[in-house]
């Protein structure tokens, strides 16, 4: 392996799923890549002036405008006639893509720019101290939806951002997670072949925000998939074209009990909440046909 595109020596926490995800993604993207990065951990831990961990041209402007900045980069490259062979990436966390920058993402997708957007999903505003985002899962406790006498944590389901992206007519939408580097490689390569908007949603566990040991990032990533809570799939032109099958379904408790953000669900009467989370997982399994032994049924287009 030659030098990583994201050099070592940056200041991410030990066990950071986001740093690992970015390293894996960008090494596949290669040197002919220009990245527009949203504000967040990824920008903070890679570019403390005057140092940088990036070996590709990289720009950070604001929290909510990475897709618009990337659109400007694409327009400028076209105007200069130097767009050939260059992959432009708009990258940000779940807050940047699903919440504050959602309008900019939607605009970029709808305009049809040849840009790969990447959502590094750690299910909350981790950079500012673990607050709830639109992608925080059901009943997770965060600093703005803490569990308490009258609260079981976040009482709304995780927004289905990949489906919303697909609804724009985005040709290629894929989900993945850091437990599966080969899957990441395959999907980035496929995305790079597509001319137009393409989107990759990657689950990047956060040891600090989720409350697990720094050695468990990969295990948590895998459990998120094996429970059905984070389905891994490809959606091409609005239709599911591949899913990562689950050999043996893992009950959601096995995943939840390893994380402090769900600790409150194992004290007191939380059967209802646990059942609701299991229901979410089961619904994903049914919707995407995740069980290896399940009979193949046509999957409805989103």
């Amino acid at each position: 392996m030659t030098d990583n595109i994201l050099a070592s020596g940056h200041t991410a926490c030990a066990g950071c799923g986001e740093a690992l995800g970015m390293k894996l993604l960008t090494n596949v993207l290669g040197p002919n890549t220009i990245i527009a990065n949203a504000t967040g951990c990824s920008e903070i831990f890679t570019t403390l002036w005057p140092r940088t961990a990036w070996r590709v041209p990289w720009i950070h402007s604001l929290f909510e405008n990475a897709p618009a900045v990337a659109s400007g980069i694409e327009a400028a490259l076209k105007a200069q006639g130097r767009e050939k062979g260059i992959q432009i990436v708009a990258m940000g966390g779940d807050g940047a893509m699903a919440d504050i920058g959602f309008g900019a993402l939607s605009g970029m997708l709808e305009r049809g720019h040849n840009i790969l957007s990447i959502c590094l999903d750690n299910e909350g505003y981790m950079n500012t101290g673990i607050q709830r985002s639109g992608l925080t899962p059901l009943y997770a406790s965060t600093t703005t939806c803490p569990s308490g006498k009258d609260s079981k944590g976040n009482d709304t389901p995780k927004k289905d951002l990949p489906a919303i992206v697909a609804a724009h007519g985005t040709k290629y939408v894929a989900t993945t997670t850091v437990a599966y580097p080969r899957d990441i490689e395959k999907k980035i390569k496929k995305a790079m072949e597509i001319n137009g908007p393409k989107y990759i949603h990657i689950l990047v566990p956060c040891p600090l925000g989720w409350g697990f040991d720094v050695s468990e990032t990969i295990m948590l990533s895998r459990l998120a998939v094996q429970t059905g809570l984070f389905p891994i799939y490809e959606m091409e032109n609005g239709k599911i074209t591949s899913v990562m099958k689950i050999g043996k379904k893992v009950p959601v408790e096995e995943y939840l009990k390893l994380q402090k953000r769900f600790k409150h669900l194992f004290h007191g009467d939380c059967q209802c909440q646990l059942a609701a989370i299991q229901e979410t997982a089961d619904a994903n399994i049914a919707r995407f046909g995740l069980m290896a032994e399940a009979k193949k049924e046509p999957v409805p287009a989103v």
């Binding site: 002036w49 897709p67 260059i86």
Partner: protein, 399 residues
Amino acid sequence: MSPASVLEKMTMMEGSKAFADAVKVCRPHVISAYPITPQTHIVEELSKIVANGELDTEYVRVESEHSAASVCLGASATGVRTFTATTSQGLLLMIEVLYNIAGMRLPIVLMCANRSVSAPLNIWNDHQDSISVRDAGWIQLYAEDIQEGIDMIPQAYLIAEHPEVRLPVMIGVDGFILTHTSEPVELLDQAMTDKFLPPYKPEIYLDVKKPMTLGAFADPDSYMEIRYSLHKAVEDSKKVIKEVAREFGKTFGRFGGDLIETYNIEGAETVVVAMGSIVSTLKELSDEMKSQGRKMGVVKVRCHRPFPDQEIYDALKDAQNVIVLEKAVSLGQGGILGTEIRSLFMEMEDPPRFSNFIIGLGGRDVPMNFLEMLVLEAEESPVPFKFVGLKEELLGGEK
């Protein structure tokens, strides 16, 4: 040049169309905008120019002004000349990006069709929008008439892209008054503009052959120095703004001042300071008063940032009365331009008598006889701060 040959070169044209034409001859590579009244005619005309193949540019139709500014930011960082236009709420939505653009030293040119801000919603002219972003690190120019708005566009690019400046420039043109009215104007010749404004060739831009990190994060060890250098760059741009105005004068034969323009100020007892289209009315009033043997001079603040402190001081120091008229207000404080100008005389032993009037908010008409009344009022007794022309019947005794 004989008056007849000057007239031959003139065209009767709506301001917005003329501004779009001036943008066209500057050959921006990327234009991005979002519609908002009264900026729309400018971006509509540019869209038409692009649709007709008259300008080779990427026109990015965005979903908000925040993204319009962000597209220009990304494009400018990739090494091309960019243009956007907005006003009022659109400019306010852009604010976060405006500060960012200046901090990243990107030479973007923005035309602001000056309009009031909500609430209450009002689409007519004042300067509250662009004055509210005076501290963003942008150079701010304000045009008096359509011709000056046209002429400021290539000047803005030359200033912004100057290696000693590298700052964004905002051109204020009074909404409706200059954007939606027609005047005889001289459009910019393409060949002359090409000579005046060479292609943009930055040293630093996003390039896979030479990877660079733009927009890094700075901690307390370095932030202050970076902000100081930005402040210094805005201040130091005065020199280039003056040079460019003179260079433009040489090339195109028109010079309407650089940082400021003075009119009939020699020996004037009273000098009125203002920005934008109201200056034309003041000049006419000055001429009329002159014909009656009264001496009223005018100072047009053509460049509000960097603030031309020395130039304004020199123009006002010999006057007995200084009147600052402005179409914006710092709520709970007072006049913004007025406060800035008054502070110039802090150390003067016998300063001019100072008056500061807030006029024309939300498009309230300011006719010449009204301006004359203000001059008389201030000459009789200085008025430190006043909203003028208020309707008692609408205030319910609040005044």
